[in-house]
């Protein structure tokens, strides 16, 4: 029998064509949806847990609303902002927060689960973006409450204020909410990424998380210094007030509000850059 000397075995690369590149986001999105569907399914396996969680979360949101109502029982307005205006801002603030909370549970436990326990190795073995895998690996179902309640409060307050934002106004609302969610994600992603450098568990996230509370009120009620910090340093003014003010505060807020996607993009970009450098560090130190 004739013996043919075999050539070297080559592992094919995936074709890097434009079409595949364009399809890639859709592919990742479909995986995201599949993860989410699986997650909901697995959560529903513990139906009682799920309902208790949702109820507790709803209660805490209800209490926040009551605090707001109690506050305005004592005062007519906050530096010129009426109850309905503040309520609208609060309602809107829940939309990006809800989106963020859906994925953020993975960031809090990141250092523990992925770095210390070593699960990050497994993430690197799969042909999908590591961050996408992390963000999809679990979901904070409380985020769904925030989205529903936030939507309801926004509509309720908007109706009481007699707002008529027009077609563009309606169309922009989801875009602004997503941009604002990117601000949150960017900030916490950056903080999470620091755990690639620090061995010890990170203590920065909880205090920063507490700052989020400030973002539910008109920043004009705070001192100029706090305002400055919330606008440029820890840009939480953009997660609710700046975009929402455009709807309730009049046209002088338009320019600031429309900058929200830019700020969202920048914050997320900065956070993601830190993340990518962290991943590179991980693969070059293995610790």
């Amino acid at each position: 029998m004739e013996r043919v000397s075999p050539g070297p075995v080559l592992l094919p690369r995936r074709e890097g064509g434009l079409r595949r590149r364009l399809r890639e986001p859709a592919r990742q999105a479909s995986i995201f949806v599949a993860y989410f569907a699986q997650f909901v399914k697995s959560r529903l396996a513990y139906r009682v847990d799920f309902l208790v969680d949702m109820t507790a979360n709803l209660l805490s949101l209800g209490i926040q609303l009551l605090v707001l109502a109690a506050l305005f029982d004592k005062v007519e307005s906050l530096r010129g902002w009426s109850y309905d205006q503040v309520l609208f801002i609060y309602g809107f603030s829940l939309l990006p927060l809800g989106l963020f909370n859906l994925v953020s549970v993975n960031l809090y436990g990141f250092s523990e689960q992925y770095i210390i326990e070593g699960d990050f190795d497994r993430i690197l073995l799969r042909p999908i973006n590591p961050l996408a895998q992390i963000l999809c690996s679990s979901f904070g179902t409380g985020g769904l409450n925030e989205l529903v309640l936030g939507g309801a409060v926004t509509v309720y307050a908007g109706t009481r204020l007699g707002l008529a934002p027009g077609l563009a106004g309606y169309a922009l609302l989801p875009l602004l909410a997503v941009s604002a969610a990117l601000v949150y994600t960017g900030v916490f992603l950056g903080l999470t990424a620091l755990s690639f450098w620090m061995e010890d568990r990170l203590g920065l996230a909880p205090p920063v998380y507490n700052v989020i509370r400030f973002s539910r009120y008109p920043v004009t009620i705070f001192s100029p210094l706090v305002r400055l910090l919330l606008t440029f340093v820890l840009p939480f003014a953009w997660v609710a007030f700046y975009p929402a003010a455009w709807y309730v505060g009049g046209p002088q807020w338009e320019r600031v509000a429309l900058l929200t996607p830019v700020v969202g993009g920048l914050t997320f970009g900065l956070g993601y850059l830190t993340w990518v450098r962290g991943v590179r560090r991980y693969t070059s130190t293995g610790s």
Binding site: V9, I31, S42, A45, S287
Partner: protein
């Protein structure tokens, strides 16, 4: 399909090195303060100029004691870790540089760590993996059918992963790592913690999969049984260096293949008495405890049956047990003999 050693290698590793920076802590509170101000950094070489080739379809055991550098090597071969220096070429790809392409061609099972979703039914985890690796439906069904046939997954395919026994889970892990029909399979301690039956089914499966799909397998293990049944070739690494690369028989010849025979007697006797029983055979006796004695000999010199026959004929014996050397002992044996420098 069997490996052809003369075929061009699929994996080519050359002078692979990996250093770790470690900080040495000083003692006491004062030391802690000093550490904070002026940390003592040291460089540790975990993998030291490792070179080897693996032919397509070969199954290679990569063994060594804990901390010898096994995991670090596997991490570099799977693209998780970038080496300090040296090269790895796997079918034209560099694992850490071409990770996006490379991960589609490899499967990996890392010991106790699961790659499945804890709360999901096994089959749902598989579905997600199908999506992740973009396996066409027809291929997925065919491969799952094959894996099911070999591993008998059917009975627990619809149970959540958390409810599986370790043995069942390991079978699922193997299936999960092979759903996308990878060319290479990396296994880190695939039989650790498994009972005899589960171990056997994993070994049979690995043999089958290599034969039917020509998968190239690199596995680390502490279990000599894995090596004996699966790998014609072993690479032993110690303190970051390759100390042996060859077949198992060659290894046994090299270290002398020590065997220990544990004997429990019915009536008391001294080790010297037992030595008298086996006079003329190259056996060393020592007393273990009470009625228990241990004979130490090399399988290269005599057969165990010969020793057993002599003892049983001479005095009443309650129990007998033959203990083979563990991989650690074999590795230590190589070092004792000072073979480290002379590589085949």
């Amino acid at each position: 399909m069997t490996a052809d050693p003369s075929a061009p290698p699929l994996i080519r590793v050359r002078d692979l090195c990996r250093d770790y920076g470690v900080s040495r802590r000083r003692e006491g509170v004062r030391g802690g303060v000093v550490d904070l101000l002026r940390p003592r950094r040291e460089t540790l070489r975990a993998v030291d100029r490792v070179s080897f080739d693996v032919a397509p379809g070969e199954m290679v055991g990569y063994i060594g004691a804990n901390g010898a550098g096994k995991s670090t090597t596997i991490k570099m071969l799977t693209g998780i870790l970038t080496p300090t220096s040296g090269t790895v070429d796997v079918g034209g790809l560099v694992p850490w540089r071409d990770r996006g392409h490379y991960t589609r061609h490899i499967g990996a099972v890392f010991g106790q760590r699961t790659q499945l979703w804890w709360d999901l039914a096994v089959v749902e985890s598989f579905r997600l993996l199908q999506k992740i690796y973009e396996v066409p439906d027809a291929d997925y069904r065919r491969q799952l059918g094959r894996l099911d046939e070999l591993l008998g997954l059917g009975e627990f395919l619809h149970q959540p992963v958390r409810k599986l026994s370790l043995g069942q889970r390991m079978r699922c892990e193997l299936a999960a790592a092979l759903l996308h029909s990878p060319r290479l399979l990396f296994l880190d301690e695939p039989t650790i913690g498994l009972d005899v039956v589960a171990k056997e089914s994993v070994r049979t499966f690995l043999r089958d999969i290599r034969e039917s799909q020509g998968t190239t397998v690199l596995l680390t293990t502490h279990d000599l049984g894995d090596i004996q049944q699966l790998c014609r070739r072993v690479i032993i690494i110690d303190r970051g260096r390759v100390v042996y690369d060859g077949d198992l028989d060659g290894l046994r010849d090299r270290v002398g293949d020590r065997v220990e025979l544990h004997v429990e007697l019915r009536t008391p006797a001294a080790s010297a008495d037992l030595a008298a029983d086996t006079a003329g055979l190259p056996v060393r006796w020592r007393e273990a405890a009470g009625l228990q004695h241990v004979a130490d000999f090399s399988r290269r010199d005599i057969r165990g049956a010969e020793v057993i026959k002599r003892v049983v004929n001479a005095r009443p014996v309650l129990d007998l047990r033959v203990a083979e050397q563990s991989i650690e002992e074999i590795v230590r044996g190589i070092y004792r003999r000072g073979d480290a420098g002379d590589l085949p």
